[in-house]
C-alpha cells in the first residue's frame, strides 16, 4: 500500500472524548476509522446506546447490543460520572490532553454539560467542542422530545418516502421512515464534515472552536428536489413506491424476475438506454419493435403508448431469467439495473471481497469473527477506513486511560470506592 494514498491513519494522534448517547456514536466512529483515538466516557450503567437493540442474546444486556457493537468499533470505554462535581478533576485531566470533545444527547443534558467545556476550552484553546442535539442549541424547538422516527418526520424524509396512492390519488398507507437510524447517520456525517473543517481551520489558525450540529437540519438537507420544487413552483412532490417522489405519478420501477426476485429496472431518458434494452431483448430472445420505423412513428404519434410498450418489454425481459443473470446481462449492455438485495446478500459477493469492503472483527467472547461494513472508499488497493477492534466492554479502559492521564493507583481506587468510575 502506498502510504501517501491512504487516509486510514490520517487522524493519528487526534484525541477525541465522546460523551453522550446514540446521537453521537456514528460521528466518533467515522473519526476512529481514520485513526483518531476515541475515548468514550460512559456513566457507570453504560451509555444510552448500549440499551438499543437488537441484542446478541435476544434479551437486553449492555454488553450484547448490536447497535453498540456496530457504532463503537475501535473506541475505548471509560466509566466516569461526568455530572458529579467530584469527577471534574478527572474530566479536566482528560480534557487537557484532548483535541476534540463530542457532546451528544437531548438538549437539556448537553446544555447542562456545556458550561464546563466552555471553561475548559479557555485553558485549552486548541480544543474543538462539537455538540450534536436533536434541534440544535437554540430556537423554539430546541427542547422538543425526539426519536429517530420523529426526526425523520419533522425533517421531511418521511413525506417523500412510502407507497403509491390509489387511482384517485388517496394514500391508504402512511409515509415511511426508511430503516434504520438515518437521522443519526445524517447528523453524524455532518458532524464529521464540520469537525474536518474545524481541524483544517485549526491547522491555519491554531484555534479550536464550538460546533453546534442540529439533526433536524441535517435531515432537512437530504430530501433532494422536494424543497427546490416547492420554492420555485409551489408544487408538492408525491411519494411513490420505490422511486423518486415527483409532482406526477411515474411508471413503476420494480419488476419480478424468473426466480421471483424483485429487480430495479428502468430506463433513464438517455437514448442509448433504449438501444441497450433492444439489444438485451435480442440477446434473451424476446421479439420487439424497438428501433424500427413503426416504433419511431409510435413515439411521434402517441408518447404514452410508446412508453407503455417500452415498459412492458422491459418487464418481459426481466421476467425471462433469474435475477442474478438479468443483473449481469443488463450491466453488460450498460443498463444500471440491480436486484433488490438484502444487505446480507453482499457478504458473499466477490466484488466486495475484492475491494475489502468488510472489516473482519474478532469477538473472542463469541468464539468467532463478525464482518462489519468497513469503508466507503478505497485507495485502489486498500480501504481508506480501518476498523480493527470490537466495541469496548463497559469501562474496559478506565484504569488504562486514567493512568495515562496521570492518575495513580490510589487515586483510581478512591474514585472507584466513591462510585465515580
Amino acid at each position: 500500500m502506498n502510504r501517501d494514498y491512504n487516509l486510514r491513519a490520517s487522524l493519528n494522534g487526534l484525541r477525541v472524548l465522546e460523551i453522550g448517547d446514540q446521537l453521537g456514536d456514528y460521528a466518533a466512529l467515522l473519526l476512529s476509522g481514520l485513526g483518531a483515538q476515541v475515548i468514550k466516557i460512559e456513566p457507570r450503567d453504560g451509555a444510552g446506546s448500549r440499551r438499543v437493540g437488537p441484542f446478541a442474546g435476544g434479551v437486553p444486556d449492555p454488553e450484547q447490543s448490536l447497535f453498540f457493537w456496530r457504532y463503537n468499533l475501535n473506541k475505548q470505554s471509560v466509566t466516569l460520572d461526568v455530572d458529579h462535581l467530584d469527577a471534574q478533576p478527572a474530566l479536566c485531566a482528560l480534557a487537557a490532553r484532548a483535541d476534540l470533545v463530542l457532546l451528544s444527547g437531548e438538549f437539556e443534558v448537553v446544555a447542562r454539560r456545556l458550561p464546563l467545556w466552555r471553561r475548559l476550552a479557555q485553558d485549552n484553546p486548541r480544543l474543538i467542542v462539537c455538540t450534536i442535539t436533536p434541534f440544535g442549541l437554540d430556537g423554539p424547538w430546541r427542547a422538543l422530545k425526539a426519536t429517530d422516527l420523529v426526526q425523520m418526520a419533522l425533517g421531511g424524509i418521511m413525506a417523500v418516502c412510502g407507497y403509491d396512492p390509489d387511482r384517485e390519488g388517496f394514500y391508504d398507507t402512511p409515509p415511511i421512515a426508511p430503516a434504520m437510524w438515518h437521522s443519526y447517520h445524517l447528523g453524524g456525517e455532518y458532524a464529521a464534515i464540520a469537525i474536518m473543517a474545524a481541524l483544517n481551520f485549526r491547522e491555519l489558525s491554531g484555534e479550536g472552536q464550538f460546533i453546534d450540529v442540529s439533526i433536524h437540519e441535517a435531515v432537512n438537507t437530504c430530501t433532494e428536489v422536494a424543497i427546490p420544487t416547492y420554492v420555485y413552483t409551489g408544487e408538492i412532490v408525491k411519494r411513490q413506491t420505490a422511486r423518486h417522489a415527483a409532482t406526477v405519478i411515474t411508471h413503476a420501477r420494480l419488476s419480478e424476475s424468473a426466480d421471483h426476485v424483485l429487480m430495479l429496472a428502468n430506463l433513464s431518458p438517455f437514448e442509448r438506454e433504449l438501444r441497450a434494452l433492444g439489444e438485451l431483448a435480442d440477446r434473451v430472445g424476446i421479439p420487439h419493435v424497438l428501433g424500427t420505423p413503426e416504433f419511431k412513428q409510435l413515439e411521434k404519434d402517441d408518447r404514452v403508448a410508446a412508453a407503455i410498450y417500452r415498459n412492458d418489454l422491459l418487464m418481459e425481459v426481466v421476467a425471462s431469467l433469474p435475477a442474478d443473470e438479468i443483473f449481469h446481462r443488463a450491466q453488460a449492455q450498460g443498463l444500471a439495473w440491480s436486484p433488490i438485495r438484502r444487505p446480507e446478500d453482499n457478504l458473499g459477493d466477490p466484488h466486495f471481497a475484492a475491494r475489502g469492503s468488510f472489516a473482519t472483527i474478532n469477538h473472542a467472547e463469541l468464539g468467532r469473527d463478525l464482518r462489519y461494513p468497513g469503508t466507503v472508499a478505497s485507495d485502489g488497493e486498500a480501504p481508506h477506513f480501518c476498523f480493527d477492534r470490537r466495541a469496548p466492554r463497559l469501562g474496559e479502559h478506565t484504569d488504562l486511560v486514567l493512568r495515562h492521564a496521570g492518575f495513580g493507583e490510589e487515586e483510581i481506587a478512591t474514585l472507584r470506592e466513591r462510585n465515580l468510575i
Binding site: 418521511m158 434504520m180 438515518h182 460546533i211 408538492i236 438484502r342 444487505p343 469492503s357 478505497s378
Partner: protein
C-alpha cells in the same frame, strides 16, 4: 496552492478544487468544500451531452424571473419553460458557491489546459463513468506526474476497483444493490417502499467531503496526495444499520418493519393520520409513563384502558389493534396542535412535514436561519438549502467564495482563465474560437 489566511475565517482558505462532477453525488461533495471557503471551479462543456443533466432537469425558475427579480425580490412562483441551461432550480440548489467555466476535454488543447490547472490545484473531483478520465489520459497516475500532491476523488456506483468495476449505477441502483431499498417499507407488503429520492447520491457526497477534507489537512501538513475511489454501494452498506450483524448472529434473513421499533420496548411507534389531506403525525412512545400520558391526553377512552395495552410488551403484541384504535383518535386532530399537546406532556411526536411545512412554517428552521438567500446571475435571488451546523470561528457559508448560488454555464471564464490561470485576452479568444473554452 496557497497556505491559507487564518484571518479569513474560512477553514479551506487557499484551497483550489477542480470540479468535473455532475448530477448529484459529486457536486454534493464539492458544494460542501465551497461552503468552507475552497475555491471550487466547476468545469463543463457546452455540448448537450457534456452539460450537467441537472441544468436541463425540471423544475425551472419561472420565465418572468430575472437577474434582479428572483423570489426574494418579490417574483411570484411558477413552472418555467425548459430550454435554458441557466434556469434549473435543482441545479441552482446543488451548486452554490462555485465558479463555472467551460472546457472541452475532447480537444487536446482542452486537456492540456486542464493539466496546466492541475499544477496549481489541491484537488480534482469527477464522477464520470469508470475509465473515462483514463481514456483522456487524465487519470490519477497521469495527474500525479504533474502534481504529486494532488488529491483525486472519483465517485462511481460500485467503485473503480473490484469485480464489477465496469458496472454502471445511479443512486437508486446502489440503494437496491446494497440493501437500503429492501430495508425500507411495510413488512406485510411484497414490495419495499425504498427511498423517494437518490439517498445514495447524497450520503457518498457527504463522505466525499469528509475524506477530501481529511486529505486536504494531511496535504497541508505533509504535502502528500491522495487517491479516493469512492463507491456508492459501499456507502449503502455503511448505512445498513445493524442488519448485517443481526443476520450473522441469528442466521435469520433481514426483515423490514415499517415505522415500528422492533429493537426497543417502544409502542405505539408509527405515523398516524390526522385531519386534512394526507396529513400525518409520527408518535414514538418510549415508556409506560408516556403511554399513560398519551391516554390521559386522549381523555382516557375505554379502548386505551384495555389491559392488553397496559405494558409495552402487551402493546407490541397487539400493535395492529393499537395502531387502528390510535388512528381513530388522531384522525380527528389537527396535526400541529396534536404535536404541541403531546410534546407538552413529554411524548416524542412530530408532524410528517411536507416541503411547504418545512419552508413556510417550521419555526425552528426560521429561527436558525437555515435557508440562505443567494443571487444567481440570470434568475435573481432565491433561497438555497443551508448547512446544518453552526461553527463559531470558521462558519459555514453556502455562498462560498462567489457569494452566489450556482454559476451560469461558463460564467467565470474570464476570471478563472484570465486571473487564476494567467491567459491573456488574446489567448482566451483564440481558444474560444477553436472550441477549446
Amino acid at each position: 496552492m496557497g497556505n491559507g489566511n487564518p484571518k479569513s475565517g474560512r477553514a479551506l482558505d487557499g484551497v483550489r478544487v477542480l470540479d468535473l462532477t455532475w448530477l448529484q453525488v459529486g457536486p454534493q461533495a464539492t458544494r460542501l468544500l465551497a461552503t468552507f471557503g475552497a475555491q471550487v471551479i466547476r468545469i463543463e462543456w457546452r455540448e448537450r451531452r457534456a452539460v450537467d443533466f441537472l441544468r436541463y432537469t425540471p423544475p425551472y425558475a419561472p420565465d418572468h424571473a430575472r437577474a434582479d427579480g428572483g423570489r426574494v425580490q418579490g417574483v411570484t412562483r411558477g413552472r418555467g419553460s425548459p430550454g435554458n441551461y441557466d434556469r434549473g432550480a435543482y441545479f441552482n440548489n446543488t451548486n452554490p458557491g462555485k465558479y463555472g467555466i467551460t472546457l472541452n476535454l475532447n480537444h487536446s488543447k482542452g486537456r492540456d489546459l486542464l493539466r496546466r490547472m492541475v499544477r496549481d490545484a489541491n484537488a480534482i473531483c469527477e464522477n464520470f463513468s469508470p475509465g473515462q478520465m483514463d481514456k483522456w489520459e487524465l487519470g490519477y497516475e497521469e495527474l500525479r506526474k504533474i502534481n504529486p500532491g494532488i488529491i483525486y476523488l472519483q465517485t462511481t456506483g460500485l467503485g473503480k476497483a473490484g469485480t464489477y468495476k465496469d458496472y454502471v449505477s445511479y443512486g437508486p441502483t446502489a440503494q437496491a444493490f446494497s440493501g437500503l431499498t429492501f430495508l425500507s417499507g411495510l413488512p406485510e407488503q411484497d414490495h419495499p417502499a425504498g427511498w423517494g429520492y437518490s439517498y445514495l447520491d447524497h450520503s457518498p457526497g457527504y463522505f466525499g467531503a469528509i475524506l477530501l477534507m481529511a486529505a486536504i489537512r494531511r496535504q497541508r501538513l505533509t504535502g502528500a496526495g491522495c487517491y479516493l475511489d469512492m463507491s456508492q454501494c459501499e456507502t449503502g452498506l455503511m448505512l445498513s444499520g445493524t442488519s448485517l450483524l443481526e443476520h450473522q448472529v441469528t442466521g435469520q434473513p433481514t426483515a423490514r418493519y415499517g415505522n415500528r421499533m422492533p429493537f426497543m420496548a417502544w409502542s405505539p411507534h408509527g405515523a398516524y393520520r390526522c385531519s386534512g389531506e394526507d396529513n400525518w403525525i409520527a408518535i414514538s412512545v418510549q415508556s409506560d409513563e408516556q403511554w399513560r400520558a398519551l391516554t390521559d391526553e386522549m381523555g382516557s377512552p375505554p379502548w386505551a384502558l384495555d389491559p392488553r395495552f397496559a405494558t409495552a410488551a402487551g402493546r407490541r403484541q397487539h400493535e395492529n389493534d393499537l395502531d387502528h384504535d390510535l388512528t381513530g383518535f388522531t384522525a380527528g386532530c389537527d396535526r400541529y396542535d396534536l404535536m404541541n399537546r403531546l410534546q407538552a406532556r413529554g411524548i416524542p411526536a412530530g408532524v410528517v412535514q411536507k416541503a411547504s411545512d418545512r419552508f413556510d412554517h417550521d419555526p425552528q428552521l426560521k429561527a436558525r436561519a437555515y435557508y440562505v438567500d443567494l443571487p444567481q446571475s440570470e434568475i435573481g435571488t432565491w433561497p438555497v438549502e443551508g448547512f446544518p451546523a453552526k461553527l463559531s470561528r470558521s462558519p459555514a457559508e453556502v455562498g462560498g467564495m462567489t457569494g452566489r448560488a450556482a454559476p451560469k454555464l461558463g460564467e467565470d471564464n474570464a476570471f478563472v482563465y484570465g486571473e487564476l490561470v494567467g491567459l491573456s485576452a488574446a489567448e482566451m479568444s483564440a481558444l474560444a474560437e477553436e472550441g477549446v473554452i
